[in-house]
């Protein structure tokens, strides 16, 4: 892909995706959202304490990257995203202090799902960095629902 074509593709992606992603971000109260379209990655980060820009008017931070032309080097492009899923049907609550950017090791408590008064612990499966908080604290979740994504620390 030439630089011109890349720029054009990125412009298109931004026009097509950013409004929809921004809307979804605020609707679900997400911290950030990322989609891939071919070689392109579009990442939208909400303003607020958990990350993102402090730009006025609650604007969002948008990062668009391609795999062949690294406009903005996104951290951990070589790392594996490790999904943390709900072990039970109930209400999910995050562990205190959990947020994007936090380093965790295998076994670190992510939170718990309360099912009929019984807490089912949710723990990180591997060492890494918390990337996305997908679920909301207090949210009803189903079995297997994606709660958190962790960037697994590459071995060595």
């Amino acid at each position: 892909m030439s630089t011109d074509e890349t720029a054009e593709a990125m412009a298109k992606a931004v026009t097509a995706l950013v409004p929809a992603l921004t809307e979804r971000l605020s609707r679900h109260g997400l911290a950030e959202i990322e989609v891939r379209q071919g070689d392109l990655r579009v990442r939208v980060v909400a303003p607020g304490p958990t990350g993102g820009s402090a730009a006025a008017g609650g604007s969002v931070e948008v990062t668009v990257t391609t795999s062949d032309v690294g406009v903005t080097p996104v951290e951990g492009t070589t790392a594996t995203l490790d999904p943390v899923r709900s072990p039970a049907v109930g209400h999910f609550v995050y562990a205190d202090g959990l947020g994007p950017g936090l380093s965790v090791s295998a076994g670190t408590e992510i939170g718990f799902v309360e099912m009929l008064g019984i807490r089912h612990e949710v723990r990180a499966a591997a060492d890494g960095v918390v990337r996305h908080l997908v679920a909301e604290s207090g949210e009803p979740v189903e079995y297997g629902q994606l709660l958190v994504e962790i960037d697994r620390t590459p071995a060595g």
Partner: protein, 454 residues
């Protein structure tokens, strides 16, 4: 009526229950296990929730997960379907504790009707004939001989601590009783640590006939006629029909009337089915009651025009029966063919696969209850039922003719099924003449019906 119902089941029955909920305008949530995420019930539902992994113990049998799923989705009732937790008194009780209505009999009613032996005694006391046998445990050989003489040979000796057919012995004469009783005793002692035995008369060439009842929580009950489920393989029903072709109308009336009276007298509630053995002489004997909706309920719906799931919902929500016995009209004749993922040409071995092509028969009197769609992958974890073809006609002959044509029009590609068996049995002389007894298939083998694969 309910605000929202959790459907705690899968397959065709989940789709069936969902259909009634949608007709009645009651929102429903389909509870599903991970491999059922793309199932038809989930696709047709407005709301669905994953309750666990494939293993039934952790999903469809997982009581806390189901109750939690009902609560977080705002349901006030749970329909258990058939199988899984449908007759589990502890689940009905757990629902009640969380202010959820279990759509079926209340826990204390299920509990009272749970023990086969106790129920036989209870319903015998309210007027139902039961299989003649020993009065309780046999004391010794002299007692066994005297009691067997009264009940009539052959008899089936059963360990009182046993179950599932283990340690049972067929005794055809007093001579055999003398040799078999000590053997059965030592067998029972070895297997169950308890050598007490009882016996029942063995009814060799029996038919299986069952009566559908509806009883509200105020002691009003009606029957919806009987079904004949004599085409079985290893105690699994394959074809059912209604009314029973083995009984004449006065006999059927007597059976239905006795069944509804005794079950109301015993305090049953909601939909239920009383199962009977019918012998060659036309005597019927009560064997057990099923406290749930049954797989074969559509043939009763075909004859009566009554939606049995809707009636279950109404009764569970505390409504009174609005139908009287006189309003129940049994019209025509109906068959149900259970189409399963079992290879009819390979001793009914279970099959999996992806349904690559699918088409169903259509026309007057035809109904198909199924969860299949083209592209559906049949998971290996659950039972093999794929679809139920229900065919209705004005009389048995018309229903049978329609069934032949309908079975010829069923097309399921990508997975082997028992359709060849169904296509063969509708032309089988014993079936056409209504001469099939429950042990026929196991005696002659299904191969006698389907022959060799082409």
């Amino acid at each position: 009526m309910f605000a929202k119902i959790l459907i705690a089941n899968r397959g065709e029955i989940a789709v069936r229950i969902l259909r009634t909920c949608q007709e009645l305008g009651i929102p429903a949530v389909v509870a599903f296990s991970e491999p059922d995420r793309d199932s038809l019930a989930v696709r047709l539902s407005d709301e669905a929730i994953c309750i666990g992994p494939a293993e039934a113990r952790r999903s469809y049998l997982n009581q806390p997960a189901l109750i939690s799923a009902a609560l977080i989705t705002g349901c006030d009732a749970v329909h258990p379907g058939y199988g899984f937790l449908s007759e589990d008194a502890s689940f009905a009780e757990a629902c009640a504790v969380h202010d959820l209505v279990f759509i079926g009999p209340r826990a204390q009613v299920i509990e009272r009707f749970a023990s086969k032996y106790a129920v036989r005694r209870m319903l015998a006391a309210t007027g139902l004939p039961t299989v003649p046998g020993s009065t309780g445990i046999v004391a010794d050989l002299a007692d066994a001989l005297a009691q067997a003489e009264a009940a009539g040979y052959p008899v089936l000796l059963k360990p009182s601590a046993g179950g599932g057919g283990r340690g049972m012995r067929l005794v055809r004469s007093p001579r055999e009783m003398e040799t078999q009783l000590p053997l059965a005793r030592s067998e029972a002692r070895a297997a169950f640590g308890d050598d007490s035995l009882y016996f029942e008369r063995w009814i060799e060439d029996n038919r299986h006939v069952e009566v559908q009842v509806l009883v509200d929580s105020y002691g009003n009950g009606i029957h919806l006629g009987e079904r004949d489920c004599s085409v079985q393989r290893r105690h699994q029903k394959i074809v059912e029909e209604a009314p029973s072709p083995a009984m004449d109308e006065p006999a059927r009336e007597r059976l239905r009337d006795l069944a509804i009276r005794s079950v109301v007298a015993a305090g049953y509630e909601n939909a239920g089915t009383l199962e009977f053995l019918l012998d060659r002489e036309g005597n019927f004997y009560f064997i057990e009651i099923n406290c749930r909706i049954q797989v074969e309920h559509p043939i009763t719906e075909a004859l009566t025009g009554i939606d049995l799931v809707a009636e279950q919902l109404r009764i569970a929500s505390g409504e009174r029966l609005t139908l009287t016995q006189e309003q129940v009209q049994l019209r025509g004749h109906a068959f149900e063919f259970r189409i399963t993922a079992e290879d009819a040409h390979d001793n009914f071995s279970p099959q999996t696969g992806v349904v690559s092509e699918l088409s169903w028969p259509e026309g007057p009197g035809i109904r198909v209850d199924t969860h299949l769609f083209a592209g559906y992958e049949i998971p290996p974890y659950y039972d093999s039922l794929l679809a139920k073809l229900i065919v209705w006609g004005e009389d048995r002959g018309e229903a049978l003719a329609r069934a032949r044509a309908a079975l010829a029009d069923c097309r399921i590609e990508g997975v082997k099924t028992n359709l060849p068996f169904h296509r063969a049995i509708v032309d089988n002389a014993a079936f056409v003449d209504a001469e099939v007894s429950t042990n026929l298939l196991d005696r002659v083998g299904p191969a006698a019906f389907v022959g060799e694969p082409a």
